[in-house]
């Protein structure tokens, strides 16, 4: 009887307990081709949440509150993304959303969150259009005055700029651009061409080639690049096809650097290309090397928590981790679990947030539809060039490693 009473008391207490938590939704592709990014983000975020909860939670106006996670797998499918966003938008006490990898999913879902004013941090990726859709358009249509969508990712513009910069620094002036024929690949190509123009037109594009998702034989495209004397291949695509390109280059003996977007650090590229991936260069926000005590603590905690010796996508894991820390700081400053108050705090974050990627000082500012950078956290200095070496991503330049290690002291 006593036990029954205790059980009864517990069940009665549960709703009261639930009201004392900060509800945070984590979404993203936890299965499918983008899963390495989605799952690493999820795991990185959960690591930060576990640490916060273990310390008793976040101080919300004098009361310690824990974070409660709501997890949704969008399977990288646009329609699933839209459904999930509608579901989340209908939750009355949701404090925020962190997640999304695929541009299409973001385009399909975020409008529902914005409609209800629910704060979302896009992390770890999504193409430029995920933010520019809210900006003023060239045809005169104005973006919304208030925006609840933030982005926590190195945008394609920064990445393309770094890729072009790298080719120029290495004096590789004749380049071939190869990309997949999806939105991501085509907009990547446009970003590259724009950047080449912007950086003085020093690069000569000898050929532009494309491939389809699922293509395995890239001989024709690569031979063309070889015949036209390309000194570097600039590439925009995702894992498996990137591997086919790297393997094809080895086959026809095209020994030139492969430089491209951050997807070149995906485990399904590194594993499928094997040693042919060595020397590949790509922008990274985080390198899985213990260059500072903070980075070492994070990497060790991740390995231990998930029983791995290599993070499937270190960039995603670190961004997921830092995004939660920033969100938590905003909750603390807002002294509320109200999603609108959290948005306002995010736009004017006072205390610096010590993350594993960087120490974030005022990552966001008040939304201005004429300038999407107001809701973008990453700037050029938080991104470094990474290089694949023997199955891992290391620093592409020693200078970057030293600079980051010093910053994180």
């Amino acid at each position: 009887m006593k036990r029954l009473l205790a059980l009864l008391a517990l069940t009665l207490a549960l709703p009261a307990l639930a009201a004392d938590t900060i509800k945070l939704a984590l979404t993203g592709p936890y299965s499918g081709g983008s899963a390495p990014m989605g799952v690493s983000t999820l795991d990185g975020s959960k690591l930060a949440i576990a640490e916060i909860n273990a310390a008793g939670g976040i101080d919300v106006g004098g009361k310690k509150m824990k974070i409660e996670v709501i997890e949704r797998d969008d399977e990288a499918k646009n329609d699933r993304g839209a459904l999930i966003a509608q579901e989340l938008a209908s939750m009355p006490d949701l404090s925020g959303v962190i997640g999304s990898v695929n541009t299409g999913v973001v385009m399909a879902g975020d409008k529902y969150l914005q409609e209800k004013g629910i704060t979302k941090i896009i992390c770890p990726a999504a193409g430029s259009s995920s933010m520019t859709q809210w900006a003023n358009k060239p045809d005169g249509t104005k973006g919304p005055a208030q925006l609840s969508i933030f982005r926590f990712a190195a945008n394609d513009g920064i990445q393309a700029a770094m890729v072009v910069e790298e080719a120029i620094n290495r004096k590789l002036f004749k380049v071939a651009i190869i990309h997949d024929d999806t939105n991501y690949g085509v907009s990547g190509r446009d970003d590259l061409l724009n950047q080449i123009k912007k950086q003085g037109g020093k690069l000569q594009v000898v050929t532009q080639e494309k491939f389809k998702i699922g293509d395995k034989d890239m001989t024709a495209q690569l031979l063309k690049a070889k015949a036209l004397g390309a000194q570097a291949i600039l590439i925009w695509g995702i894992g498996p096809e990137l591997a086919a390109v790297a393997n094809g280059m080895a086959k026809i003996g095209l020994k030139v650097p492969l430089i491209g977007g951050w997807t070149l650090s995906m485990s399904n590229f590194i594993d499928n290309a094997g040693k042919n991936a060595n020397g590949t260069l790509m922008p990274q926000t985080f390198i899985e090397l213990p260059i500072s005590p903070r980075a070492k603590a994070f990497i060790d905690a991740y390995h231990k928590a998930y029983g791995v010796t290599r993070i499937p996508s270190p960039v995603s894991a670190a961004q997921g981790y830092d995004a939660v820390l920033i969100f938590a700081a905003a909750v603390k400053q807002a002294k509320s679990t109200n999603t609108v108050k959290i948005r306002e705090a995010l736009e004017d974050l006072q205390a610096p947030v010590k993350g594993v990627i960087a120490t974030w000082r005022k990552p966001y500012s008040k939304w201005n539809p004429a300038d999407v950078d107001t809701h973008e956290a990453f700037r050029r200095q938080q991104v470094v060039m990474g290089m694949v070496m023997d199955g891992r991503v290391i620093f592409g330049s020693e200078a970057d490693r030293l600079r980051l290690a010093k910053e994180q002291q």
């Binding site: 699922g214 395995k216 034989d217 498996p240």
Partner: protein, 292 residues
């Protein structure tokens, strides 16, 4: 443009073409005996490749792994025949079309849930270090595809022509009812053709996986091309699929080079339309007069 480049592209393309030919051959085997096709042939290729990968994980020696993989494919072929085709054929209905598609979809979901949706590397003892033969770069893995495809097709053709069981195979293809009257079990022969077709699909998976990696969607593009090859060559001719496969593969590679990489798939489709418009029985097919 140096000639060696053109030859290089044609060779690389033709090697992929041989894989189309092998999958197309799987279509032919069952069509010959039962006038039915397994529309889930691509999923057979994929599931067999995954199963072989799992068998490899046990650490058995490679030749044994391949053998077990082929056996798995054959059993899968038999399962398709029993569940999807036999009853439909007995009732002279076209139900096998839908049923084989459904089995394919089922196998696809099965693979997604058991092995996951990621593309995985498929280890092989054959080197992928390129060799330079007469100025053309090919890898031993690619050569193994060519050797494997041609060897298995020669073997099956020799089996059909020289053994008693093979003769039964030919007899059922020629006239099912007459061969039943001669004491040949048509059902058994159809079973045999599905088992062979499954083994051929497994071999295609094992040969091509080291190049393409293994994933649930690995065969979806492949099977469409294979179907074009089978139709263009005619559903009767084993020799025809090799020729058409080689030709289509080389053509794709060259088209992608000269016309633009966005046009890679165009030649296959143009060829298919042309073949259906000009020679519906296939380039190597025999026009049969059907008595009604």
């Amino acid at each position: 443009m140096p000639v060696s480049f053109i030859v290089q592209m044609a060779v690389s393309g033709a090697l992929m073409g041989l894989v189309y030919a092998l999958v197309a051959y799987g279509f032919q085997l069952t069509y010959a005996t039962s006038k039915s096709l397994n529309f889930g042939q691509g999923e057979l290729v994929m599931v067999s490749a995954f199963a072989t990968l799992s068998i490899m994980g046990t650490g058995l020696p490679y030749p044994l792994v391949v053998l077990l993989g082929l056996l798995f494919g054959a059993l899968l072929g038999l399962a398709v025949e029993r569940t999807g085709v036999r009853l439909a054929l007995e009732q002279k209905s076209e139900g096998w079309i839908l049923l084989t598609i459904i089995i394919g979809l089922f196998l696809f979901s099965f693979a997604e849930n058991v092995w996951g949706r990621d593309d995985r590397p498929f280890p092989t003892p054959i080197s992928s270090q390129p060799l330079n033969i007469l100025g053309i770069d090919v890898t031993p893995v690619e050569l193994s595809v060519a050797v494997g495809v041609l060897a298995v097709m020669l073997l099956v053709e020799a089996f059909k022509r020289t053994t008693l069981l093979g003769k039964a195979f030919e007899a059922v293809s020629a006239d099912r009812d007459a061969s039943e009257l001669m004491g040949i079990s048509a059902t058994r022969t159809v079973m045999l053709s599905y088992a062979l077709s499954g083994a051929v699909a497994a071999l295609a998976g094992i040969l091509v996986s080291p190049i393409t990696t293994v994933g649930p969607t690995m065969a979806s593009a492949l099977v469409l091309k294979a179907f074009s090859v089978a139709v263009v060559a005619g559903l009767e001719s084993g020799f025809g699929v090799v020729v058409v496969g080689l030709f289509l593969g080389a053509l794709e590679s060259l088209a992608s080079f000269y016309v633009g990489s966005g046009w890679r798939d165009a030649p296959g489709l143009v060829l298919l339309i042309l073949a259906l418009a000009v020679r519906p029985t296939g380039v190597f097919g025999k026009a049969v007069i059907r008595k009604v």
